[in-house]
């Protein structure tokens, strides 16, 4: 009930770049934005969990949201950020970081200006979206961050059920390693 309330009141959104598209999340769920820092990897976790960071003494998981959404993640650059968000689920609220290629701006998006997600055509799963809004000339995809981060598996493991946990971790490491190579190249 509280969630719908805040959804109604919410008109400000933070927009960020992810794999070439612009996404938005409600500003009320954003705690802060920090520069990309060195992550500590946790073995045997899904590929989308990139690791943990120290946020003023609290250990916070950092999620590669591009992988969660089934997009191919971009390499880490100087503009990469970690957006610290607070998500709510049945289990309570949780603080997590998500990796964004870059953070754009805060926009006003009253509910009437968010149109329903078209049944196809978007790159990501429909139920991860609240709708589509407009920022200037461009569309922004409004994410339902609780749903995205609340789902336990990654887009890739959903399609590929043969993955064992350990191999997941290895796949992720290869991935992040190749990212690294691209970045340094």
């Amino acid at each position: 009930m509280m969630e719908t309330e805040s959804a109604l009141e919410q008109i400000q959104y933070l927009t960020f770049q992810l794999a070439g598209e612009e996404y938005a999340i409600g500003i009320l769920q954003v705690k802060e934005i920090i520069p990309y820092v060195t992550l500590t990897m946790v073995p045997q976790t899904p590929a989308s969990i990139r690791g943990v960071i120290n946020l003023r003494g609290a250990v916070v998981p950092v999620i590669d949201i591009a992988l969660k959404l089934g997009l191919s993640p971009n390499p880490v650059t100087a503009r990469s950020c970690i957006v610290i968000v607070e998500t709510t689920s049945a289990a309570g609220s949780l603080i997590m970081g998500i990796i964004a290629d870059s953070v754009s701006q805060v926009i006003d998006l009253p509910p009437q200006e968010i149109s329903a997600t078209p049944p196809f055509g978007t790159q990501i799963q429909i139920d991860f979206l609240r709708g589509i809004g407009r920022s200037g000339q461009k569309f922004v995809l409004v994410l339902d961050i609780d749903k995205v981060l609340g789902s336990d598996d990654d887009a890739e493991t959903r399609t590929n059920s043969s993955g064992v946990k350990v191999t997941d971790g290895k796949a992720r490491l290869k991935q992040s390693n190749s990212n690294h190579e691209i970045a340094s190249a």
Partner: protein, 572 residues
């Protein structure tokens, strides 16, 4: 001025809880020693305070009930009726009723349950006509010759509340967290100060002093979190009494080391295992008075709860002087389950340790084993979750003693830092036996392998490969030898950083399925390091698919054979 009624109610409930617990204890003591006016007075005072407070807060029903309670005590006082076990039971049940009533009143309930009304009537009548359903015709013998607890213990328990305050544990956790943060910030500051090159003697000295002080502060905060185990132990007096009465057994609960202090989070997690073990000891360990007499024992059994410090840990022992464990039956069960291969090599205590194995106690066996196995694997896993160990010792016919060893606190461990590539991992220091250099011959192996440790085979796991890290292997590696359940194993790492005090940070729900990781900590450079759960890691390695480990083992066997040949050739 606005009065915070909520806060007053909270304090009232907490105070009542404490008082009711003390009264309960005194009642059990009174039963054993009916003519002790000290116990009677203590109970009377408690009831009176509860009545008074209830009256001033506007809870007439509680006040009325407490008044009836007082009335019955008054009749004990002027010897108009004697103290009987049945009346004690009535009073104990009334305490439970008071607890419920207070909770209901605070929650704003309107009605009194009919059961409570009936109890109150019985209190007024002083009529203890078998309120317990299963009370048989034969009166339960009172352990008159065996006071349930020592005299004076109750008087000691009546604490002077004036000099203590109640603090929300959350605040203490926050303080401890901050103290940990300060320590980390100081580490960074020291690094910055020494790296600069120009050593400012005065600044460094001042910094050392700050470090010392903050360490002391941290210790003080830890100490605040420490609570004596006594009150927890005494909570079982009532349980032991009720269980013993229900089974027509005579049992005396003795506690030792009540003053031993332990972190409150540990106490909280200790209650379930203790309940389990005490119940087991009463159900199956201690015999009926007749059986005991037939064996030439005192008809009244003794259940002991002991606590003491041993090194950096606390030891809690639950022992009874009952039946003891049945070696033959445990052995038979162990053989049946394939846990034991040959009877001969197993010492008694090792064999008894099997009762903690999961799956060892199935319902059918429980009766065979005189039930001694019920849920003991749960006890063990609970204790292991607290980074503790469990052991059992038993003498047939003389009793069983279960020994639990626990760390003093869950918030800080003595850790041992190791490095793999850029990552740092922390091992609990107590698991580390020694560190050796990786033999050159092993450098090309995969994730698993076996080396020769002074003639004995030592299987090892290379953390880099096991965790799937992609950093290149260094030229020199080290092996940390750890021991889990008396089995030695090695962890191959790059660098050894040494021992350090480590503040544990939980990793959170996202990582609850990760095996081999116990938590995390924050390093001096601000990065997060994972704390390894060595037993969990070892289990995960052992359960990994055999085809990964097999080639290395086969290889190792071949090598061992070759080495043996070489040895015998030498000795020839």
């Amino acid at each position: 001025m606005e009065i915070d009624f909520e806060a007053i109610l909270k304090t009232y409930v907490a105070e009542c809880d404490e008082r009711l617990a003390a009264m309960e204890e005194a009642l059990v003591a009174l039963e054993a020693d009916p003519h002790n006016d000290g116990f009677l007075e203590a109970i009377f005072r408690g009831a009176h305070t509860i009545k008074g407070n209830a009256g001033s807060l506007g809870f007439p029903r509680v006040a009325g009930f407490a008044h009836a309670f007082e009335d019955l005590l008054q009749r004990f006082r002027n010897n108009s009726i004697p103290v009987t076990p049945a009346r004690i039971t009535l009073l104990l049940r009334s305490l439970d009723a008071l607890r419920e009533m207070i909770a209901a009143e605070v929650a704003g309930a309107e009605k009194v349950s009919p059961e409570h009304v009936k109890l109150q009537q019985q209190l007024t009548d002083g009529d203890a006509a078998e309120p317990m359903e299963n009370q048989a015709a034969a009166p339960v013998p009172t352990p008159r010759d065996a006071p349930l607890i020592k005299r004076g213990a109750v008087a000691d328990a009546v604490v002077d509340y004036a000099t203590t305050i109640r603090v929300d544990t959350e605040k203490l956790n926050r303080m401890l967290n901050l103290a940990g943060e300060i320590a980390i910030a100081q580490g960074r500051l020291r690094q910055a100060m020494t790296v600069r090159g120009q050593s400012n003697g005065e600044a460094l000295e001042a910094h050392s002093q700050v470090e010392r002080l903050s360490l002391e502060l941290q210790e003080q905060i830890m100490r605040v979190r420490m609570v004596p185990v006594g009150p927890t132990f005494r909570q079982y007096l009532r349980m032991v009494r009720d269980l013993a009465q229900g089974q027509k057994k005579l049992v005396r609960l003795e506690t030792q080391g009540d003053e031993v202090e332990v972190d409150m989070s540990i106490i909280e997690h200790l209650k379930d295992p203790l309940t389990h073990m005490i119940r087991n000891a009463l159900d199956h360990g201690i015999e009926t008075p007749e059986a005991r007499q037939a064996r030439g024992k005192n008809p009244c059994g003794v259940l002991k709860l002991q606590a003491r410090h041993e090194g950096g840990s606390i030891v809690i022992e639950v022992s009874d002087d009952g039946n003891g464990l049945d070696r033959a039956k445990i052995l038979a069960r162990g053989l049946a389950l394939g846990m034991v291969s040959e009877a001969a090599q197993w010492s008694d205590d090792e064999l008894y340790g099997l009762i903690f194995s999961p799956g060892f106690s199935t319902a059918a066996v429980v009766t065979d084993l005189s039930g001694r196995g019920i849920g003991m694997d749960v006890v063990k896993s609970n204790i292991e979750a607290l980074r503790g160990t469990v052991g059992v010792h038993s003498q047939p016919g003389e009793g069983t003693s279960i020994r639990i060893q626990l760390p003093l606190t869950l918030a800080i461990i003595d850790g041992f830092g190791v490095g793999v590539g850029d990552e740092t991992y922390v091992l609990p220091l107590h698991a580390v036996i020694e560190c050796i250099e990786m033999p050159v011959s092993e450098q090309q192996r995969g994730a698993l392998g076996v080396i020769d440790l002074r003639g004995a085979p030592l299987p090892y796991v290379r953390l880099r490969d096991w965790f799937g890290l992609t950093s290149p292997r260094p030229r020199r590696e080290n092996i940390v030898v750890v021991e889990v359940d008396r089995v030695k194993a090695g962890l191959a790492v790059d660098a050894l950083y040494g021992a350090r005090q480590t503040v544990i940070k939980p990793l959170g729900d996202k990582f609850k399925n990760v095996r081999g990781i116990a938590g995390s900590t924050i390093l001096g450079n601000g990065l997060v390091a994972l704390i390894l759960d060595v037993p969990g890691l070892m289990r995960a390695v052992m359960q990994s698919p055999r085809d990964e480990a097999a080639p290395t083992l086969a290889h190792w066997r071949g090598e061992q054979a070759a080495a043996k040949l070489a040895n015998s050739a030498q000795s020839l």
